[in-house]
């Protein structure tokens, strides 16, 4: 098996004073995969990225790239290239010289300009080779930064929030281009973001981080559909988190909500009776009925907001649970039987749609809440 572009993080820790920005992280990122690291500000994702790039040195632990220990290898010599959030183009050099800069540093002669122009043509900026960075739009600057990062044929391309400075329209277009580029080149991309749809759309593997730890690392479908902890469920979105206490344990778990609702679902970990647990139910698996009838796997509530979203309708409920509760109803169902503000409703779901949350991280997944 080829190890090109494979990244192994072995107990990687980075401390700033007493605070561990990254705390004993173990992870294997397959060569040639598109990996997104996501988490709120200060979760350690950028520090981890900068350690892989060599701009930070781990306090302890090892980093292997392509099977080689690069923990203490100089940045620029470890087969990585970092694309900066604000692009960090050299303001005093034209596009050709910007892109040719890494080649110049590595002692490539006059041919470096030709190679830079080829690379610029590849990102559709061949006609602007003699312009200065300040004459470009944000999207164009990003392409230049991409060209400069790729000119040395790195095994691993590291992208630090590459799309966050762009407007919505450009962001979606660049997203497509990044994915296409990664497909074409077949090199490992590690992309740090705080935008959930971006991570889900792009990645082969999503790494969700919080407080310097990896909460869950898996295929985006797994992350979205089977979140590990309440934090992951809340942070990635699309889920309702429900608290309950276990009543009986067996092939099926029976649990009771604080307000007396009864829930049943398949176990995902060993539980004991009387244990407080949380589970998640996807917003699009919830159905609503008018009235207040009690039933198993149901939750009474009052409609507090209705938003039409085009393909579905988002209905927000106030429930006995302290947490927000949202149902995404199919558009045709909703308009056949609409709900209004203040309606008393019952939200119900199927036992197989319940995902028990094994992890204990119960933070809100909101950077501002920390």
């Amino acid at each position: 098996m080829s190890k090109v572009g494979e990244i192994i993080l072995d107990k990687v820790t980075r401390k700033f004073g007493a605070v561990a920005a990254v705390n004993a992280v173990d992870q294997v990122i397959e060569g040639g995969s598109y990996c997104c690291m996501i988490g709120p500000s200060g979760c350690g994702k950028s520090t981890l990225l900068r350690m892989i790039a060599g701009h930070e040195t781990p306090t302890s632990g090892r980093i292997l790239i392509g099977g080689k220990d690069v923990t203490h290898v100089r940045t620029g010599e470890r087969g990585t290239a970092l694309m900066f959030q604000n692009y960090a183009l050299f303001p005093h050099l034209n596009l050709t010289d910007n892109v040719a800069f890494p080649l110049k540093i590595h002692g490539v002669g006059a041919e470096r300009r030709d190679r830079a122009r080829e690379m610029l043509a590849r990102v559709q900026l061949g006609h602007m080779a003699d312009r200065m960075p300040s004459q470009l739009s944000g999207g164009q600057q990003q392409r230049v930064a991409l060209a400069r990062a790729l000119i040395t044929n790195p095994q691993v391309l590291l992208l630090d929030e590459p799309l966050s400075a762009l407007d919505e329209f450009l962001r979606l277009r660049m997203r497509v281009e990044l994915k296409r580029l990664q497909n074409d080149l077949g090199i490992t991309f590690i992309h740090v973001t705080h935008t959930q749809p971006e991570a889900i759309a792009l990645a082969d593997k999503v790494i969700v981080m919080d407080h310097g730890l990896i909460e869950q690392a898996a295929h985006p479908r797994e992350i979205y559909d089977r979140p590990h902890s309440p934090y992951v469920a809340r942070f990635m979105g699309g889920q309702n988190v429900v608290s309950a206490r276990v009543l009986t344990v067996g092939d099926e778990i029976q649990a009771e909500g604080a307000e007396g609702g009864r829930f049943a679902f398949a176990p995902r970990a060993a539980l004991r009776e009387g244990q407080d647990i949380r589970f998640a139910v996807r917003r699009d698996k919830i159905r609503l009925d008018q009235g207040q009838a009690r039933a198993e796997n149901a939750m009474p509530g009052k409609v507090i907001n209705v938003e039409y979203q085009g393909t579905f309708v988002k209905v927000e409920l106030a429930t006995p649970q302290a947490e927000e509760f949202v149902a995404h109803l199919p558009e045709s169902d909703f308009f056949a039987n609409p709900f209004r503000f203040g309606d008393e409703v019952v939200a119900r779901w199927q036992p197989q749609d319940v995902c028990m949350l094994v992890g204990t991280n119960n933070s809100a997944g909101d950077a501002l809440a920390h």
């Binding site: 100089r74 620029g76 970092l82 900066f84 050299f90 540093i105 300040s134």
Partner: protein, 284 residues
């Protein structure tokens, strides 16, 4: 009132100040350089005799060469010192408060007058001065070093002392504007510290270097006091020669010399501005 008229009006006070305090005196000097003086009285005239006298005197070229030599040496030393100090403050002092504190420390000598700062070199550098006494007591020298005071050395060291800050401030300012990510991007490309200095930091500090150069050159070119005191009257520059003319009431000749000096300094500044587009860089 149109916006155009508004902006014209808002620059009016400054224009007035410039005209009254710079434009008119300059005009006076230029006019005066064409007047005649017979040893008794000045007469408004249009004669080129003053310029002819200035150009014909070999001493003119000698003092211009001497002034330019001082300017060049002072410039080189202040540039190296100013660049190094700024580099240290911007890139090695990570703590912003400490950075500002150290920067203010650089300005402390300016809390007192130029004359005092200059004069205080004399007891330090003199024959019986602190430096000589110290070296003799350490047994490093037997005779006091003569070149320390009333010499070119003393003049240059005073210039450097007085003018280095004028190099530090603009270079510091230009360096502080360099985006740290740009330096990291160069590191990421594999550049060594020296390569980053040469290919990134020096080119991006060039506005500051240009401004500092203009300050130092014009200050040295316009000085007569330091050179007169610190060289002990043994050395003369353009302005100290002018001062002699003025003392002897030869105003028109002094004015002609002044016009020549202004032309030379303007030429130097124009050359610098040609190499570095300071205006465009400052507008960023």
């Amino acid at each position: 009132m149109t916006p155009n008229r508004m902006s014209q009006l808002s620059v009016l006070p400054f224009t007035a100040i410039l005209i009254i305090f710079t434009g008119l005196p300059l005009l006076m000097v230029v006019l005066l350089s064409f007047w005649t003086f017979d040893g008794l009285e000045y007469r408004p005239d249009f004669t080129l005799a003053n310029f002819a006298a200035v150009f014909a005197a070999p001493v003119t070229w000698k003092i211009f060469a001497n002034t330019l030599r001082y300017a060049a040496i002072t410039w080189a030393i202040t540039l190296v010192v100013g660049f190094t100090v700024s580099f240290y403050l911007v890139f090695h002092v990570r703590n912003l408060k400490l950075q500002i504190g150290l920067f203010l420390l650089c300005t402390i000598p300016f809390w007192t007058s130029t004359v005092i700062r200059m004069i205080s070199w004399i007891p330090f550098l003199g024959r019986e001065g602190l430096f000589n006494t110290g070296l003799m007591q350490l047994g490093l020298i037997q005779q006091p070093l003569e070149f320390l005071l009333f010499s070119d050395f003393a003049v240059i060291i005073t210039y450097v002392n007085l003018f280095t800050l004028f190099m530090i401030v603009p270079i510091f300012n230009a360096m502080a504007k360099i985006d740290r990510n740009v330096i990291e991007a160069a590191l990421d490309a594999g550049a060594t510290g020296f390569q980053i200095l040469r290919t990134i930091i020096i080119p991006l500090s060039r506005t500051g270097i240009a401004l500092g150069t203009i300050f130092v050159l014009t200050l040295v070119m316009g000085d007569f006091f330091v050179v007169r005191v610190m060289s002990g009257g043994q050395s003369s520059t353009v302005v100290s020669a002018m001062k002699n003319n003025i003392d002897q009431m030869y105003y028109p000749q002094a004015a002609a010399m002044a016009v020549l000096l202004i032309a030379v300094v303007l030429g130097m500044v124009a050359t610098i501005l040609r190499v570095v587009d300071v205006r465009a860089e400052l507008a960023k």
